[in-house]
Structures are given as C-alpha cells and as structure tokens.
C-alpha cells in the first residue's frame, strides 16, 4: 500500500501523451475497416477456387488495388493498436515492452510486405 500523497502520484504520472491519439486512431481505423471490409469479403469470396492468373489480374485492376492497399494499412494499424491495449491490460514489466515492440515491428513489416506485394501485382500486370 503506497504511502505517497495522491497528488504526488498523479503528478508523477503526468499527461496521457499519445493516449488520446491512439484512442482516436483506433476509432478512425474502425470506420475505415467497416467501409472496406464488405468489399474485401466480396472480392475474396469471388476469388475462391480461381487460378493465379485470374487472381492476379483481378487484384491488378486499379480500383481493387486502390482499395486493397488502404485496407491492409488500416487493418494492421487497427491490429497494432488493439493488441497494444490487450498487452497493456495483461502483461507488465520488461515482457510488456518487448511484446509491444514485437507487435509494432510485426504489423509494420506485414503492412510493408503487403504493399510491396500489391505494387508488384499492379505494376507487373
């Protein structure tokens, strides 16, 4: 049980820093995903069983690529923020820091790799 004055504890914690921004980005990416997910489901269900040529040319269509890229970016951003909240809740200490970094790197890497894949599909069509 801490004997510190509550005001001192509050002052020590200070401002929420990036907290407000994180909260808003989670909501903004949610809206983006709610708009884009129906399209993604329609696209993917339509490509079930298709051969590689069909999938490639479908994804290479400018409108599809132009929707897939923001989908991927919004999704990984949303995922990183969401996982951040989960980790904050359950894990503390050095393991928390390590996991937060791993999650950030993994999401950033996957987003970049997806962008490169989409770029390759579009520009080699």
């Amino acid at each position: 049980m801490s004997m510190r004055d509550p005001l001192a504890v509050a002052r020590g914690i200070g401002s929420a820093k990036s907290g407000t921004g994180d909260w808003w980005m989670l909501r903004l990416t949610s809206v983006a995903l709610l708009l884009l997910t129906p399209w993604l489901l329609w696209l993917i269900l339509g490509l079930v069983g298709a051969d590689q040529y069909t999938v490639r040319t479908t994804l290479a269509r400018p409108l599809n690529a132009a929707l897939m890229l923001p989908y991927v970016l919004s999704m990984f951003w949303h995922a990183q923020l969401g996982l951040q909240v989960v980790i904050e809740d359950y894990i503390h200490g050095w393991m928390e820091i390590a996991l937060q970094i791993i999650v950030k790197f993994a999401c950033a890497f996957a987003a970049l790799a997806s962008a490169i894949a989409i770029g390759r599909i579009v520009f080699s069509a």
């Binding site: 997910t37 269900l45 079930v48 991927v72 990984f76 995922a79 996982l83 894949a117």
Partner: protein, 131 residues
C-alpha cells in the same frame, strides 16, 4: 508488485456470465484472432505476387480441412468483431448505454453474426465463388 502472493476472492469462478461481459471478452478474443489472420492475408498477397509454386502451396493449405476450419473461424470472428464494433462506435457517440438497449443490441449482434457468417460461409464453400 506485492512481496507475497496473498489469496484473491473468487471472481471468474462465481460471477454469472452475462451478455455484457461475454460479448466484451468475445470482442477482444475475435480481435486477437483477426490480428493473426491479417498476417495470413499478407501471406496470400505475397503468394499471389510470387511464382506459381508459392501460390499452389498457399492454395493447398487453404483447401485442406485445416484451411476450412480456419476460414470459418476467421469469418465468424470478422463478422462478430465488425458488428459488435458498430455497437462500440455507437457507445462512443453516447448512444445505447441504457441497460435494455445494451441487452437488445447485444442479442442483435449475436443473431446477425450467426446469420451473416452462415450466409458467407455457404457462399465460400459453394466453390467457384460469387464472381
């Protein structure tokens, strides 16, 4: 943080499961599942962008029973997380906190999830797809 682990009073063992708490943890669980599924989407994009071997490998896994189970699990997670997500956004603008509304919207989410997932899974499995 405590020097010595002291006993905790039971909570999860005794608290009655309710639509509020169950949907809340389910939103978190489906979110985590979807985070992993996102990486599968990346793998798929990379497979499509690569040679025919990569694509064939991905398709082999996707077409297996493992892939089928994963497909339904991820689809259900996506539908639930999205529909419940709308419920969360409504709370964010201040609507729907009254207990009758919480329960009504909660059950609406459950019903919609089951119906939409069933419909989309049917479309997915009647191969050849919608296009």
């Amino acid at each position: 943080m405590a020097a010595q682990q002291r006993p905790l009073s039971p909570h999860l063992q005794v608290y009655k499961p309710q639509i509020t708490s169950m949907l809340s943890i389910l939103n978190r669980a489906t979110g985590v599942v979807l985070a992993f599924a996102g990486f599968v989407l990346t793998a798929w994009l990379l497979a499509v962008a690569s040679g025919s071997e990569a694509f064939a490998s991905f398709n082999a896994l996707a077409g297996s029973w493992v892939g089928a189970i994963a497909f339904v699990a991820v689809l259900g997670s996506l539908v639930f997380h999205s529909v419940n997500g709308i419920r969360h956004l409504l709370w964010d603008i201040g609507w729907g906190f009254e207990l009758p509304k919480v329960e009504a919207t909660g059950w609406a989410v459950v019903v919609l999830t089951v119906v939409i997932t069933a419909a989309l899974a049917y479309l997915g499995f009647s191969a050849g797809g919608a296009a």
